[in-house]
Amino acid sequence: MDMYRKLPCSIEGCAETAFAGTPYCRNHHPAPLEATKSLVDAILADRNAINVDFADVSIVAADFSRIRFIGCRFKKATFSHVMFTGASFRLCFFDAASLDSCDFSGVDMDFCSFGDVDIFDCSFENSELIHVNFNGSRIKESTFSSSNLYDSRFILSELENSRFDDCDFKRAYYMPQKEKAVSTANSNIAEAVKDLEHLYL
């Protein structure tokens, strides 16, 4: 079930969304670091993260393998050495987040946004990345090999030292503004939309 539910901060007049599963936004929460730790523990116990606001959180060395993320917001979140192996994502927004040495291999991701994200040394191998927006992302030292990129977008992305081997680019928009040492061996890159005259709109 794909859904997004916005939970507002319970402080009257505050327009921010609730933070880390609490009733308050980050600005109004009395102990945001403890709230983040509690949030991680709760997700690991429940194996689900539904409508959770991870905005601005910083998480190092956590294991979210095979967790189900639905309708979560990761805006400006920082993840380092975090495992998302085999996790599933629906309607999640990672905009302006920073991902360093994270493992997204084997994920099942549908209708998510990674716009303007810094992705360094991450693996998205063997994944279903359907309707995922990577526009403007700076992707370095990462691999998307053996993944299905159906209807995903890499518009004005910066791709460097990354691999897209054996990927399915059907209906994908592949228009990076920078492409250096990118491998697309055994991929159907010819099926990707690579210029403005062939948009599927």
Binding site: R5, D116, H131, N135, G136, R153
Partner: protein, 201 residues
């Protein structure tokens, strides 16, 4: 607010169910296709379908309208008075109306089509074919391209960077990402790709 996204293989377009748990009511935006999953989501949660919002009268965004009207009795909002012989409540630019417990704002953005409307519900923009992740809607003339660009710039891009964009095709995005990485909003980039291209301004 709960949001369910559906991908229609007919026209490769997105349809959305927007539900309000507080009122047990729902709205459908662009019924590209009505399938059993959508009906089940409405019926299992016992939502009362109050309204259908049509972003523009192109068949792959409203093909399921007649099917829905056979099952439910929602009010259909569009900038047309009639679609497929279904009477519509005409919306005009900046109209604000209430349905399912939501306050909905209609924003006219002609360009892709003369009847294009963007609907704003809470922090979500349902942009139809006016604005997609990384590109703007296809237009048939440079005049329409100018019109679309100017309307988006003056009426849509001014919203908060966190505002989520749910387009008629492709993955979701946010206003912040589109302001930085949308090709259709970058005249110099479009011209660089195609010297004679007048599709984008």
């Amino acid at each position: 607010m709960k949001l369910y996204q559906h991908y229609s293989i007919y026209g490769f377009s997105n349809a959305y169910i927007v539900a309000n748990e507080a009122t047990s009511a729902a709205i459908i935006v662009d019924p590209a296709e009505i399938n059993t999953t959508m009906i089940e989501q409405i019926e299992h949660k016992a939502y009362s379908l109050k309204a259908i919002l049509i972003t523009h009268n192109h068949i792959h965004h409203c093909r399921g309208l007649k099917t829905l009207m056979r099952i439910y009795s929602p009010v259909v909002y569009a900038s047309n008075t009639k679609i497929f012989d279904v009477a519509c409540k005409k919306v005009r630019d900046q109209d604000i109306f209430g349905e399912a417990g939501f306050s909905i704002k209609a924003i006219a953005v002609p360009g892709h089509s003369q009847d294009s409307i963007v609907y704003k519900i809470e922090s979500c923009l349902f942009t139809g074919d006016a604005l997609h992740a990384g590109v703007i809607g296809r237009t048939t003339s440079s005049f329409n391209a100018h019109a679309l660009y100017e309307r988006l710039e003056s009426k849509v891009l001014g919203y908060d960077d966190d505002t989520m964009i749910f387009p008629g095709h492709g993955p979701p995005s946010t206003i912040g990402t589109e302001k930085k990485f949308n090709l259709g909003l970058k005249a110099d980039y479009a011209e660089m790709l195609h010297q004679s291209y007048d599709f984008f301004v």
